[in-house]
Amino acid sequence: MLRPGALMRGMWTTFKSMFEKPVTVMYPQVKRPVSKRFKGRHELKRYDNGLEKCIGCALCAAACPADAIFVEASENTDEQRYSPGERYASTYEINFLRCIYCGFCEDACPTEAIVLGDNYELSYTNRSEAIYTREMLLVPVHPSAAPTPQKVAPGTFDRPIPEMEDPD
């Protein structure tokens, strides 16, 4: 049995909400800022001098629960230097159809090279488009820095793990 007044109460709730501030926005004209710890599409970071932070260690791929990352490493030379140390990622691919944005790759990275960014606007018209390559993931070079590969003086960047701030 419908209790008297119940219908009216429901109608009142509907009526009242017509005057509330809407929670939705007119996407894509309007975009909400994402939270500081948002996990969007990955980026491969660079050092200030333009060298890539990624050393091709594939620990991200090992940590990935969805097997979305594929890394192949090659050897740096001082003539053609991509990253500090001996090793760099000559192939770095993330399949975003597999990625579950858990951020384990970010946790595993010893050089803070792979970082989940703000971009969540990912769409593809076919499956192979969902595979982002190294070139697509690398952040652009800062205007004051040089692109990779760089020619550097011998012995300048012979350690792969840079001095990092103490996490404490």
């Binding site: 091709g56 594939a58 791929a61 090992a62 192949e72 490493a73 001996e86 350690r159 792969p160």
Partner: protein, 848 residues
């Protein structure tokens, strides 16, 4: 267990307790080995079960106690509860140098021990760079694993005070050294000194400045260098081939067998998809797989690095048919129909020529097809005696590791380290255990160092020398040439003959140093005679071993293929030639012109070889890495290999192609399943009866326990879980009683000013399966000949200079090397370097 343990295996067993596990081991077993044999961990870095202990790293510190005895009565002192009273040493002891004794108690997890381990690791890490993310060893690194297991998370040392040294030192062309990572365990230097006797690397300086250096030119000049990367407990030594190739956990492992020589080393192919290869799965590296009866845990550098041929972009990928003088692509149907019709016409004039790198299944089908048409099935080889090996070969249960003072080993006409490196290693180790090694060779070889008798003879007299050995031990002898009688009177020969006949066990290995087919046949027969006369047949660790030039030559003999005494004539007179996995035209111009005369040539190959260029039809085959099969080693051990990578599209295995042709000729052969071919082989070939793929895949527990989770103990060699193979019984072991066959010894002819050019074997030659490995290029032999320095002086030739070599009517420019142990009047010509040499031939050298 380690060599040490094995020697004393006959001795008393003692009972000891390690961490509450009580076990019985032979007296003298090291505590570490005893623990490991039942799967307990006493962590080590410098100790290796295949080497003598040194106790350098202190990682194996444990508490050790022995039962107390009364000093006056030497009766055990008992606790109140009746158990023996144990007195522990006041200090921690190194488990790797301490031998087990009766009643010993070992404690590996007390507070004292764990604290010691923590401290040892802390010290080892004071200078270790901790660049595990970029280190090739990361993931299979003993230091990494043991630090995680036993280490402390914190270090009291200051990070900035780490010792920094060179990170990229090329020790040789194949091995890179990272000096920072080295923990100075000396496993690599001890391996080179103790195990393979190539003292080319060593320690320099002291203390913190201690570093590994190489003092050979070229650097790290050894055929065994790759093994040091397996046993290095850190990432200090890495191979140039695999450098940053993949992380260890990313790769799959496939069991395989090396087919470069007759030893049949067990391998593991590590595979992974690669972008460069279009996302295809490719072989990333080759690792040894434990088989204590074949290669233990070692492989030579040829086996480790010369694998790239299977992934070469030069591989044939579709059938070719000759049209208007040119080879053009065709469909399989068309090519096979053409081949079939021509084979049908040829009938018994079909000559089948197969190389010794084919599997038993391939060879069986080829032999069956050939027999169906009534043609000749030939093995492409300059060595004879495979039939003798199948009758008088080593008995089932033969293992070089079991050979000691009761065994004599004769190695004749063979530069063993070049022809079959692992056998050299195992015979060297047998000699160290007391086996009497006798080397008969015209010049010095590395095995001479292990020999008690070094017998020298002139090139061409190898069969004569063995006959002389026989003469020296047997009272009545048929008439022999004068040089044999002279050799038989030689003191050294007499002593060697005595050692051979008096030994309980005798093994004879014959190689191909300076032999032609005819000389090889005489040599094999002479060796067989010697074994029969001295009664060393039909038992384990007794018999004849052929040091074949190809991995499965023995299998080819067993499948009924035979080398031709006159291949040239056989090719010329044939109506159709079916060549598989052999390149006669590339080896000799004579064969090339003979093939040009043949009516119809079919070549089944991996690449466009010189022979394939001459073919009327070229059929591409799968590489052995893409399929299953079996090989038979020189010790007649049948072993299985498994597919490692997917086949190129539309290719068939060799036995499949043969079966397709046979099917069209009305002969039903197995096309797809090699296991079924093996069942047929078992029916037809008596020695292979009852052999199945299942039996070949059987494994037993092997000591030391290698691989598994604990790479710290034996290195990164793989555990064998896919089959140890089956050693066949020779006919002599099945009750066959052979009789001596006296053959006429081939004579040596030399005339005038000419030198005698003799073929010899180099390990790293320019063979079709070696050259595609770029990493080896600088290590491969260049086309060269070797002369005695005095002969060279007479000719006015300098070391390393170029000369003109006139041989068999063809002229070639080659480099000259000297060898002062070789006889005068001879020029050594290595095989497979592009210099056509099949048998000893007169040659002329002209200075350029």
């Amino acid at each position: 267990m380690s060599e040490l343990v094995k020697n004393e295996a006959a001795q008393n067993m003692v009972t000891l307790t390690i961490d509450d596990h009580t076990m019985s081991v032979p007296e003298g077993t090291l505590v570490v080995d005893a623990a490991r044999s039942i799967g307990l961990d006493i962590p080590v870095f410098c100790y290796h079960p295949k080497m003598e202990p040194v106790g350098m790293c202190r990682m194996c510190l444990v508490e050790i106690g022995t039962p107390m005895r009364d000093r006056t009565t030497s009766e055990p002192i008992l606790e109140d509860d009746g158990s023996p009273k144990i007195q522990f040493f006041p200090n921690l002891m190194t488990g790797c140098t301490f031998r087990a004794s009766e009643g010993m108690v070992v404690r590996g997890y007390t507070e004292k021990v764990t604290a010691a381990r923590k401290e040892v690791l802390e010290f080892l890490l004071t200078s270790h760079p901790l660049d595990c993310p970029t280190c090739d060893k990361g993931g299979e690194c003993p230091l990494q694993n043991l630090t995680m297991q036993f280490g402390d998370g914190e270090s009291r040392f200051i990070y900035d005070e780490k010792m920094h040294s060179a990170k990229h030192v090329a020790l040789g062309d194949l091995i890179f050294l990272d000096r920072e990572r080295c923990i100075q365990c000396a496993r690599c230097t001890r391996f080179q000194d103790e195990i393979v006797d190539d003292q080319v690397i060593g320690f320099s300086n002291r203390g913190r400045a201690l570093e590994i250096v190489t003092f050979s030119d070229p650097g790290f000049d050894s055929y065994w260098s790759g093994n040091t990367t397996d046993i290095c407990p850190v990432g200090a030594l890495t191979t140039a081939d695999f450098r940053f190739g993949a992380r260890p956990w990313e790769m799959n492992a496939s069991a395989s067998i090396c087919n470069h020589c007759a030893v049949g080393c067990n391998l593991t192919f590590n595979t992974r998809r690669e972008v460069k290869s279009g996302g295809e799965k490719i072989i990333k590296r080759v690792m040894p797989r434990q088989n204590e009866a074949v290669n233990e845990i070692w492989i030579c550098d040829k086996g480790r690095f010369a694998y790239h041929f299977t992934a070469s972009d030069q591989r044939l990928n579709q059938p070719l048919i000759r049209k208007d003088g040119k080879l053009v692509p065709s469909s399989w149907e068309l090519a096979l129909d053409l081949v079939t019709s021509r084979f049908k016409n040829a009938g018994e004039n079909l000559v089948t020529l197969a190389g010794g790198r084919l599997s038993n299944e391939d060879l069986f089908n080829l032999a069956e097809l050939s027999a169906h048409l009534g043609g000749d099935a030939l093995l492409y080889s300059d060595m004879a005696g495979g039939d003798l090996v199948s009758r008088l070969g080593v008995g089932e249960g033969t293992n070089f590791s079991d050979m000691g003072p009761e065994t004599a080993i004769l190695v004749v006409a063979c530069n063993l380290e070049e022809e079959a490196p692992l056998w050299w290693l195992r015979i060297k180790q047998a000699a160290e255990r007391g086996a009497k090694v006798i080397v008969a060779n015209p010049r010095k070889t590395k095995l001479d160092r292990s020999a008690i008798h070094n017998l020298r003879y002139e090139y061409g007299q190898e069969a004569g020398l063995v006959t002389a050995l026989l003469s020296a031990i047997s009272p009545k002898q048929p008439k022999s040439p004068a040089f044999v009688n002279k050799l038989a009177k030689d003191k050294e020969v007499k002593a060697a003959a005595k050692a051979l006949s008096e030994a309980e066990n005798t093994v004879i290995l014959f190689g191909s140093e300076g032999t032609s087919y005819a000389a090889s046949a005489a040599l094999a027969q002479a060796c067989a005679n010697l074994l029969i006369a001295s009664g060393h047949i039909g038992r384990p660790n007794n018999g004849l071993i052929g040091v074949w030039d190809k991995g499965n030559a023995q299998g080819a003999w067993d499948m009924g293929l035979r080398p031709s005494e006159d291949l040239d004539a056989a090719l010329k007179t044939s109506q159709a030639v079916y060549i598989s996995a052999a390149d006669p035209a590339g080896d000799s111009k004579q064969y090339a012109s003979a093939l040009k005369k043949a009516d119809f040539v079919v070549v089944q190959e991996l690449y466009m070889t010189a022979t394939a260029e001459l073919a009327d039809v070229v059929l591409p085959a799968q590489a052995f890495t893409e399929r299953e099969g079996t090989y038979t080693s020189g010790e007649r051990r049948v072993q299985r290999f498994y597919p490692a990578v997917p086949s190129l599209p539309d290719l068939l295995p060799d036995f499949g192609i043969t079966a397709e042709i046979a099917g069209r000729l009305g002969l039903e052969l197995e096309k797809t399943a090699p296991a079924s071919v093996m069942l047929q082989i078992a029916e037809v070939v008596p020695d292979y009866a009852e052999l199945t793929y299942q039996k070949l895949a059987k494994v037993e527990k092997q000591f030391p326990l290698i691989g598994r989770e604990d790479v710290y103990y034996g290195g990164t060699s793989y555990q064998n879980s896919q089959g140890l193979g089956v050693q066949l019984k020779p006919a002599a072991q099945n009750g066959d009683s052979p009789v001596l066959v006296i053959t006429e010894l081939p004579e040596v002819k030399l005339s005038g000013e000419e030198l005698l050019a003799v073929p010899v074997t180099r390990l790293l030659d320019l063979g079709n399966t070696v050259t595609p490995s770029e990493v080896l290029v600088t290590r491969l032999a260049k086309p060269h000949v070797a002369l005695h320095p005095q002969d060279a002086e007479k000719l006015g030739v300098e070391w390393g200079s170029k000369v003109k070599l006139i041989l068999n009517g063809s002229t070639q420019t080659v480099l000259v090397e000297f060898d002062n142990s070789m006889p005068h009047g001879v020029v050594l010509v290595p095989r497979s370097l592009g210099i056509p040499i099949i048998s000893p031939t007169p040659a002329t050298i002209k200075v350029l």
